[in-house]
């Protein structure tokens, strides 16, 4: 049993109260501790990824109780990849929050940030579905605090909606768990997978109910079509670094769908019989349309980005809905890409909006460093909408390539391609209004009411630019090393679909020990 597996959960869990109680009056100390913790988390995540890459699924039994009775954490390639993604994103976001002073605008930013990381890492690592619920609640309660960080009227009201929506989702999650436990008598993911195979189709009505309830819960997290309404309001009112961190929160939902609906309610299980894919596919197509139209219709910069996040979740879940190893490889590549693309756009938008009077997409006098911001924004937009040089193009190409089944191709290809086109148009319109038309507007009111003309505000320091550039650099890295990465993801997808291997690793390990 390798104790490093639990470190991504324990490290932030220990650090957060320490920051919250001991360092709450000293922002410099809290920053240093939070930064050090996140750097350590990245190092541990890299180590775990290397560990997972050259072996099968590894199991950590809490209290050394054997698997169906005790709680287990499972480290396989998928969970290691997600933890690494979380850690790298967290580091980028944290540097941005510190450099732009966002963390000092309210209290307890760093403590909440670490609790958030604990919840996210735990959700990725756990091998027990009730434990998944508990980690969901941890990451949610931390995200409630982060969402309303800094306060303000609109942010508090959007935060209230966010809390209510997710509490309703948590209630559904518990109902689903109750149904699942009542009909199978276990909540361990591997044990569930084993028992569901033995349930005959005619007794499977309750299992189907549980599968669909869980799907709705995860869809709420992943902002899938009928339940995506919370996302634009939440993300566009959240503090910018928090919105960038939330780029991974939607992926938690996508991960949970991948994990639970592949291993537990897999496509080859008679009791559920491909139920998940049947519903996920049309919902994902509508989500792409909603996202694309939202991008086109948005009148402010940050909501525009949030709608592009909705669209990217649609593309991601479209690939997930195929529930095949090839499509899962594509989905995972696109997942990593869209996380960094969304984070980069939110960080760039923060730099731009904080130097303009408003985030409305109107022509205002050009800001300082207009050319630099324009270059950053267009790079991010190219990544997000899937234009060639960056990883978005490769991601969408992989998704399209994986969805060539005769029944799916017409809908999937037209949705992804048309959605991309509309997104490109939306981004191009927004960018040209913000950056190009703005240069033609003269600063007229500089002498009276305006204390400082936009062009005279201080430019972004290198430390403020670095996180956004790092996120964009990740897109370049993803594109440059797409070959090796796709090889790793191929193995990841193969391991995910190897249900027998997962079950043996979790339950078999208990018998030896």
């Amino acid at each position: 049993m390798n104790h490093w597996i639990i470190v991504p959960v324990v490290l932030p869990a220990l650090l957060a109260p320490l920051i919250g109680f001991v360092m709450r009056h000293d922002i410099t100390l809290a920053r240093a501790a939070s930064l050090a913790g996140t750097v350590a988390l990245v190092a541990v995540a890299i180590g775990l990824t290397l560990l997972a890459a050259d072996g099968g699924a590894q199991v950590y039994r809490l209290g050394d109780w054997p698997a169906p009775f005790g709680i287990v954490l499972v480290l396989d390639r998928l969970s290691a990849l997600m933890v690494l993604l979380t850690a790298v994103l967290a580091l980028i976001v944290l540097v941005h929050a510190i450099a732009t002073n966002w963390d000092a605008r309210g209290r307890h930013f760093h403590a909440l940030f670490q609790f958030q990381l604990m919840g996210i890492c735990g959700a990725f690592l756990t091998g027990d579905i009730f434990n998944l619920f508990v980690f969901f609640e941890i990451l949610l309660i931390a995200s409630y605090g982060l969402m309303i960080h800094g306060g303000g009227r609109d942010r508090m009201r959007a935060g209230l909606q966010y809390v209510v929506f997710n509490l309703a989702g948590s209630t559904l999650f518990l109902f689903a768990l109750g149904v699942l436990y009542a009909s199978t008598g276990t909540l361990n993911i591997a044990d569930l997978a084993l028992r569901l195979q033995q349930i005959p189709v005619e007794n499977a009505a309750l299992i189907r109910v549980a599968a669909m309830l869980l799907m709705i819960v995860f869809a709420v997290k992943a902002a899938l079509f009928p339940v995506q309404f919370w996302l634009p309001g939440t993300y566009s009112n959240a503090p910018a670094p928090v919105a960038a961190l939330f780029a991974i929160m939607t992926k938690v939902g996508a991960y949970a769908i991948l994990r639970v609906h592949t291993i537990v309610f897999g496509p080859d299980i008679a009791a559920t019989d491909g139920l998940a894919g049947t519903w996920l596919f049309p919902a994902a197509i509508v989500t792409i349309a909603v996202g694309a139209l939202g991008v086109l219709g948005a009148s402010r910069l940050v909501p525009l980005i949030t709608f592009s996040v909705v669209g990217s979740m649609g593309t991601l879940l479209l690939a997930v809905a195929a529930f095949s190893p090839a499509a899962t490889t594509a989905a995972l590549y696109y997942l990593v890409h869209s996380t960094f693309a969304a984070a980069a756009l939110f960080l760039i938008a923060d730099l731009v909006v904080s130097r303009r009077e408003a985030d409305a997409l109107t022509t205002l006098p050009a800001t300082v460093q207009n050319g630099l911001f324009a270059a950053l924004f267009f790079t991010g937009a190219m990544g997000m909408s899937g234009m060639p040089p960056l990883s978005g193009f490769l991601g969408k190409l992989l998704v399209l390539d994986a969805l060539r089944a005769p029944g799916a191709i017409a809908w999937a290809w037209s949705a992804v391609l048309a959605g991309s086109l509309v997104t490109i148009v939306g981004f191009a319109r927004a960018g040209s209004t913000l950056f190009w038309k703005s240069t033609t507007v003269a600063v007229v009111e500089a002498e009276d009411a305006e204390p400082v003309a936009p062009a005279a505000r201080p430019g972004a320091a290198p430390a403020e630019l670095a996180p956004a550039m790092a996120a964009l650099a990740m897109l370049v890295v993803l594109a440059a090393f797409a070959g090796p990465l796709a090889g790793f993801l191929d193995d990841t997808a193969a391991q995910l679909f190897d249900r027998a291997g997962y079950v043996t690793a979790v339950l078999g390990a208990g018998e030896e020990g």
């Binding site: 009730f130 609640e137 306060g151 009227r153 509490l167 109750g178 009542a182």
Partner: protein
Amino acid sequence: MEFVVASSVGVLTAGGVYLILRLRAFPVILGLALLSYAVNVFLFASGRLAIDMPPILSKYGGASYTDPLPQALVLTAIVISFGMTAVLVMVALGAYLEAESDRIDMDRLGSETEDKEPSE
């Protein structure tokens, strides 16, 4: 007893869903509280309903017992929903104090601020 438990879960859920769909924060919070009561009773019942049975194995043998796991799950769920309700009340209070209105929708926010700002 099955009927009593099942109908109480149903009534609590129906009431909760109705209240969640209200427009003001206070009924919505009450609705979420009702929903969490409903789900707690439901989870408790998922280990089968039994009367006069302890949730532990008796070492004297022969005695029947009821499944202890749902009781542990309910305890966890109660603690979590209690904490979440407390957070929700605080967020709702904050939103009410900031906006001087406890409406839960965002629709009129944009137009209101736009209307107000020129006059100020």
